[in-house]
Symmetry: C2
Amino acid sequence: MENFKLFGNIDRAQNFLESIKSGKSLFSFVISYTETCEIPGITFAGADKNSIQFTPPADAEYLHYGYCKTIDKIPMTPDGKPTPGLLTKTALESSSIPHLTINAGSKISPQLPFIETGLSFGKNILTKDAMTDSQVSHAVDFGRIVGRSLASLTDCLIIGESIPGGTTTALAVLRAFGYDAKVSSSIPDNPVELKNKIVESAMKRINSDHPYSIVAKVGDPMIPFVAGMLSSASGVSKVMLAGGTQMSAVLAFASKIGFNEENTAIGTTSYITNDESANFKDLVQDIVDIPIISVDPGLKNSRYSGLRAFSEGFAKEGVGAGGSIISSMLKTGNDSAKFLDLVEAEYGRLFT
Amino acid sequence: MENFKLFGNIDRAQNFLESIKSGKSLFSFVISYTETCEIPGITFAGADKNSIQFTPPADAEYLHYGYCKTIDKIPMTPDGKPTPGLLTKTALESSSIPHLTINAGSKISPQLPFIETGLSFGKNILTKDAMTDSQVSHAVDFGRIVGRSLASLTDCLIIGESIPGGTTTALAVLRAFGYDAKVSSSIPDNPVELKNKIVESAMKRINSDHPYSIVAKVGDPMIPFVAGMLSSASGVSKVMLAGGTQMSAVLAFASKIGFNEENTAIGTTSYITNDESANFKDLVQDIVDIPIISVDPGLKNSRYSGLRAFSEGFAKEGVGAGGSIISSMLKTGNDSAKFLDLVEAEYGRLFT
């Protein structure tokens, strides 16, 4: 277990890691969209403004096929740094963990079979309510159905997400629920002031303290959907929320609708738990008493600058990378150095 | 095992039943549509002409919620006989077998989370090609993806279907592949002459002996999709095709694209294997050397005429009823009498 750092409830963390090691895992990849990502400067999750909407389905296609159908290349930042999906793909493939894609409000459908929920994408919270209350109910209800179904098919359900601009809606939801949140970003020079301006504007529209109403005003479809999944799945199997900031917003909302804490952990990368511009570990522990499992993917030692970038603050997390790497290392016995070899081979396949 | 009759490869049948008993099962419900069902007199799968298109999604909703959202009541024949989904629902619920719905060309989407494939419904084969060759490729490819994913999550993948009018397209595919097929019907007075007329008309359009081309001309989307599922899933887990006539057409096409016969069985009701107007057992054995497992659901002893009707030739099979009952009896140890009690309780809940 020396590959991981554990925070929060350490006993539960050890127990959680043991059960992943011995059981079956299933990676579920929830793709979604918030128009908030269209605010200039808010995200790097796409080569340019127009391509951001293709990032979630393209990530799903890349995980499945090893290439994308919706766009020509795999998703990357404007200056060519690859999607964290590259880490997820390497992790899942090396450990033969199966995966399913779930469309919970993506603007574009992926070109592969996926679980459809009928959810619409979220509106730009700078200027509008993200959703209606009834859309939030729909997201929670369908999340519960999907969570229960998938958890019945595995011992540990890993949930990752792709929603560009999602750290901003996550920040708004966390603040609206009263948490002193400072969130991470896909951009090293985290656009904190811009995010704060958007969040303040969005919070002015809140006119009820009902959790569904709050998420409807300032959230995005991923948050209530994944909270619904967690709520039912954690009654049936272990659940690892694979992500950083956005999964802390899921936890904040899920703690209002109820879930089984004893079966739940959050798994992420050391790039999130070490991020000085955010307060991830304190925040999660403030919300709920679950373990935080953090893995160092070892990318700072890479010979490729495109991989070293993750350790320098680009992307940091996403597409469930951290949780996937944790599960993969537990199943294969690989350490960070071996994982780096595998990631470099995949990077080489894609770019050289 | 005295609840079942075994035909075909008996050794494989015994082996198959043993592995279902000890392992986990997953029921996948494939909904689809062919405009062939709009030919008057061809199907009873709906209360009237307009409601037939709602039958597949409504069956899916009923299996999941215990009631339908797309229509007011559960699907039934024009004179009020219930969908065979009632048998499936009872079987799955009593044995806690999980299920997932897959939309492979339904005209209407169900109001629950489901696996989306992007397939279009099939055209009326009396007057048009059912699909293009490239739609058949899409169906096979996506079927393979779904089959591999689901099989990796279970020990036995049960596949059921709902496609009104599907026995007619199945008959056309079987005849086009050179089998001397006489197929069953949801109608006791099987409209054989009408079916033959449609099939003859459709077969005139066949201008290639390529299996994809044949299915494109005279089939429906369910057949290549489920054949694709079988093709990949049978390499990973056991697969039970739950159905009668339509699953024999799937087998005919699947034997052209390849699948693992040792992991495959067909499970159905005695109402199919005893049907004198069809030649199901001989037909399946003519196509491929796999076991046929047949169960008597015991409905002739019911106090409800709506349930006795199944034993009198109405519906006979559908929504994977036979295969679900077989799997359920193996897991619970129930016999036909106990199953009848459970079905009557469900019938009572719905109708009294």
